[in-house]
């Protein structure tokens, strides 16, 4: 295990973000946790892991600056950014409400663009940093009725690759993780939309995954832990795909 680092995790009230914050804390890092709402849950998470809650809407340019400033003030300069917060709204392309379409791009892509801008100064001053972008398998292979989400996540992948090239020489390593089906609360939404039970939803997804199992949030947190670790110092501009084979096999 390497030195204790200061990490900032967005979307930490959700499944993947919460698991990431817990894992990074267990790895010995000091963690600032961000989410837009559910402040009670965010505060509880922060207390559980001995971290700091930094709530705010990352789509709001003023909020992003405040989030980073608060993390820097309480824990020190952010050395690991886990860009995880995401908005998703399924809709056929021609029926998409423009406001809902653009909100996904604003949160997922533009919000993290500004957040990354806000942390780079501190990372440059330290001469090292890790930017870990949570993209999506849909950003790799696309998905019907998810054009905004897929576009925003594809944008994040391209952003990661560009940042890898641009910031690598400064010792700041940008990489992405593109998961597919994860066992999170989103499955409850998907099950309700499909009019089936949660367990039926899980099985429907398992049937689409070559390895026949859903990713657990801890699997994604493990990938984040790895990319934050000294052992991943040769990775830059890469996209890890712990999808169980989904992104190479789905028609």
């Amino acid at each position: 295990m390497g030195d204790a680092l200061v990490a900032l995790v967005t979307g930490a009230a959700g499944g993947v973000g919460g698991a990431a914050a817990r894992r990074l804390a267990a790895d010995g890092h000091r963690v600032a946790v961000n989410d837009i709402a559910q402040e009670g849950r965010l505060r509880e998470l922060a207390e559980e892991i001995g971290g700091v809650p930094v709530p705010g809407d990352i789509a709001d340019p003023e909020a992003t600056a405040a989030i980073v400033a608060e993390a820097n003030k309480t824990l020190g300069p952010v050395q690991v950014l886990v860009a995880n917060a995401a908005d998703m709204a399924m809709s056929p392309f021609l029926e998409a409400d423009p406001a809902r379409w653009w909100r996904q791009v604003e949160v997922n892509l533009s919000g993290h663009f500004r957040l990354i801008q806000a942390v780079i100064g501190g990372m440059r001053a330290l001469g090292h940093g890790r930017i870990i972008v949570i993209a999506s398998g849909w950003g790799v292979i696309g998905h019907p009725n998810a054009t905004a989400y897929a576009a925003s996540k594809s944008g994040l992948i391209a952003l990661t690759k560009g940042l890898g090239r641009e910031l690598g020489p400064d010792g700041i390593l940008a990489n992405a993780i593109a998961p597919a089906f994860i066992d999170t609360e989103q499955l409850l939404v998907d099950a309700a939309d499909a009019g089936i039970s949660l367990e039926e939803m899980r099985q429907r997804y398992r049937d689409l995954i070559p390895v026949g199992q859903l990713a657990m949030t801890d699997d994604i947190a493990a990938a984040i832990s790895f990319l934050a670790s000294p052992g991943a110092s040769g990775f830059v501009g890469q996209v890890l795909q712990p999808t169980g084979g989904v992104t190479r096999t789905r028609a």
């Binding site: 690759k161 890898g164 090239r165 690598g168 020489p169 998961p179 070559p210 390895v211 026949g212 199992q213 990713a215 699997d219 493990a222 990938a223 790895f226 670790s229 000294p230 052992g231 991943a232 110092s233 040769g234 990775f235 830059v236 501009g237 890469q238 890890l240 795909q241 712990p242 999808t243 169980g244 084979g245 190479r248 096999t249």
Partner: protein, 232 residues
């Protein structure tokens, strides 16, 4: 049945294979090293990975000696550069494919029955970022490393339902004895083009292998590439 995990590593006597063996041993694993030379492992076996009978016997011996098998890492290989495609002889082509592709096939076929018996475990091939990007004047090496990726992706799907995971690590130019002192990949002019401005270390490759082996249950036929930014 023992609680101590067991790995067989081909090419364990030097470079990336040796780094994998060192890291796994430090993490408490038992290791067997298959190499032309003696390796610093719990069970060093001197052999040529193109000898299917000897590879099978060595893997069986390791599983027998240590009571189980969890992981096969295929790092055995060699490199030849600076050869124009028209100059690559039939013998050079055949030997490269026999060692890099054939050696991987031999090792995977020897290990798979042991993994299938337990219904868990990993096969990890060391490929190369050159197989992702292509490269001039080492075409036989690149073709062999690319063929390994096809093998990995297909075998991963073939055994996906069994709990066994097959993946590849495709490192960037790595600072090992395979790269001659005068290698193109050591030239300052080349290194300056890499975002990280340096070669990858064998330890960085070993760390990637270890992550895949211990926490990589959702990787199925994937290619992880610690490459200093050589291929993005």
């Amino acid at each position: 049945m023992t609680d101590v995990p067991v790995a067989v590593i081909t090419g364990a006597a030097s470079g990336i294979g040796a780094a994998c063996a060192r890291l796994l041993r430090a993490a408490g694993w038992r290791t067997a090293g298959l190499d032309l030379n003696d390796s610093d492992t719990d069970l060093p076996v001197r052999l040529d990975v193109t000898d299917v009978g000897r590879v099978r016997a060595a893997v069986d011996a390791a599983a027998d000696r240590f009571g189980r098998l969890d992981l096969m890492v295929t790092a055995a290989g060699y490199y030849e550069e600076g050869i124009d495609v028209a100059e690559i002889s039939r013998a050079q082509w055949d030997r490269m494919l026999a060692v890099i592709l054939g050696g991987t096939v031999n090792a995977f076929q020897a290990a798979l029955p042991h993994l299938l018996r337990r219904g868990t475990g990993g096969l990890i091939a060391i490929s190369s970022e050159l197989a992702l990007a292509g490269s001039a004047t080492d075409l036989h090496y690149v073709a062999a490393k690319g063929a390994v990726l096809g093998l990995v992706k297909s075998l991963a799907l073939e055994v996906a339902g069994t709990g066994i995971r097959v993946n590849a690590v495709a490192p960037g130019p790595t600072d090992t004895p395979l790269l001659a002192p005068e290698s193109l990949w050591r030239e300052p002019g080349y290194l300056a083009t890499l975002p990280l401005r340096r070669l990858v270390t064998p330890e960085e490759v070993a760390r990637t292998v270890y992550y895949l082996a211990t926490e990589g249950v959702m990787y199925c036929g994937e290619v992880l590439s610690p490459n200093a930014g050589a291929v993005i």
